[in-house]
């Protein structure tokens, strides 16, 4: 689906943000990208819809070199929800904000209506349909930007820091959304510092540090590697920590980290 082969990227001011990236993301995968501030995560995902073109190497989406397509064309397949909602909300009403992209892609009117209703409903924004996006709270704005992307149903959904500023319920709902995408075979790429959000999704984990991919594999394996996580300044999910400690004290009653949750709930009940 998306393939990076030997990609380097240097910013205009000479900062090298990506070094020798080789990465293949297949259809239907859930990928979490983690790593310290400035590791190159955002730079990486900006290559996926052609906003940035590699300084060296090739990025392809469905086999097509991103240099041969405009971002607007690539976006039909790859939807990126950016971190800062203030960088994209411009319409007079939520309704118009959501259908903006659908009109750009030339969807038929009927489909636009359907998708609009779905998006408003799904993100709990119906009561604001005719209001200005500017009156929304920070978290609601963020949800609106997600609605704007998901409305056109891209094959690949990229979320850059989706949990920032979201309350606990919204985070859980977001996790549900990601799981739903997984079940319908969408590809999801999540950039996040929020390991507690990532962990239950049990994604493929890509760990970045100083422009390189330093770890790539199932989260359940990589999240146990303390040394690796520390080198990229990623904290271990609490569940994994507890598991490790119980194991060290030789009292672990479970073999798998995911069983820990059950163990703990049982313990609380007792």
């Amino acid at each position: 689906m998306i393939n990076f082969s030997n990609v380097d990227f240097t910013h205009q001011n000479g900062v090298v943000a990506l070094r020798a990236i080789n990465l293949t993301i297949d259809r239907g995968e859930i990928v979490a990208v983690v790593g310290e501030n400035g590791a190159g995560k955002t730079t990486l995902v900006r290559h996926m819809n052609g906003l940035l073109k590699p300084s060296r190497g090739i990025v392809t989406v469905d086999g097509v070199d991103t240099r041969r397509r405009s971002t607007a064309q690539l976006s039909r397949k790859v939807g990126i929800a950016f971190q800062n909602p203030d960088h994209q909300l411009f319409s007079d009403t939520l309704e118009n904000e959501i259908i903006f992209a659908l009109k750009n892609f030339g969807f038929p009117e009927e489909t636009i209506r359907q998708r609009l209703d779905w998006a408003l409903n799904f993100f709990g924004l119906e009561q604001y349909t005719k209001d200005s996006p500017l009156i929304l709270s920070g978290g609601e704005k963020k949800r609106l930007t997600l609605a704007c992307i998901l409305a056109w149903d891209p094959d690949v959904i990229i979320l850059d820091e989706p949990t920032v500023g979201q309350d606990a319920i919204q985070k859980e709902r977001l996790a549900e959304v990601v799981k739903m995408f997984k079940s319908v075979g969408k590809t999801v790429v999540i950039v996040s510092h929020d390991v507690e959000f990532i962990w239950p999704l049990q994604p493929r984990l890509v760990i970045m540090s100083a422009g390189r991919v330093v770890g790539d594999g199932p989260a359940r394996d990589l999240m146990r590697d303390r040394g690796l996580l520390e080198s990229a300044r990623v904290t271990q999910p609490q569940l994994v920590q507890i598991h490790a400690e119980l194991k060290a004290s030789n009292s672990h009653p479970f073999v798998d980290t995911l069983e820990a949750r059950k163990y703990i709930t049982d313990m609380v009940k007792r």
């Binding site: 607007a72 990126i80 950016f82 960088h87």
Partner: protein
Amino acid sequence: MHWVAGGFVFRRVESPFHKLDPRTKLLISLEFFAISLLAFAIIQVAIVLASVLFVAVYAKSLKRIGRTILMSAGFAGFIFAINLLFGVGLVSSLLYALRFLAIVSSTSIFFVTTSPDELEHTMKWLGVPRDIVFAFVTAVRFIPVIMLDAFQIMDAQKSRGLELEKGNFVKRIRNMVPILVPLVVNSVVRSGELAEAMESRAYGATPKPTSLYKLRLSRKDKSVMLVSLLFFAAVLYIYLRVKVPV
């Protein structure tokens, strides 16, 4: 686009010229400004431009100044065409256009080599009221920030299927709406936040706040000033005494 924006961003460069006191740089810039303004023959303007470029090389800023010149070349062309259209001679029209370029490049010497900090000190030294200095310097500092904002907004809208590079003139203008609205809203919000943040940090609490840095003219500054003044006087003398064909 990126290339144009880069022209507005101050970059610290290690050069002997950058190290001069900002007042020295201001003097040199003003002298160049004056001799461009007073030049009345193409050969004179050409010499002024050449000297400005020489200083630019010395300040390791030829690229930046060259970029400024290229950017203003369009307007220079406009000046040339308008003059020609209204019956001014070919040579004079060319002179006006070149003179405009000389003026632009001589003023940009100061701005390209002076950091916002130095600008602030210079303005204070000139006795400009503190609030005005602050407003001016903040505006200068915010240009790159707003440029960066603009690029991020463009990226976000392109990612929503907005084709910025395609379409006729009307379409392109209409395509600017999704860019300009967030840009203006952000800038207004940001200025409000800045005002609050400044007040929370006691801006304006004392009439005469402490100043950490003092401008000081080194011996080198003094000699550079002297040489530049001599050059300036010589040029003025040549302007007055040496007859050149226009």
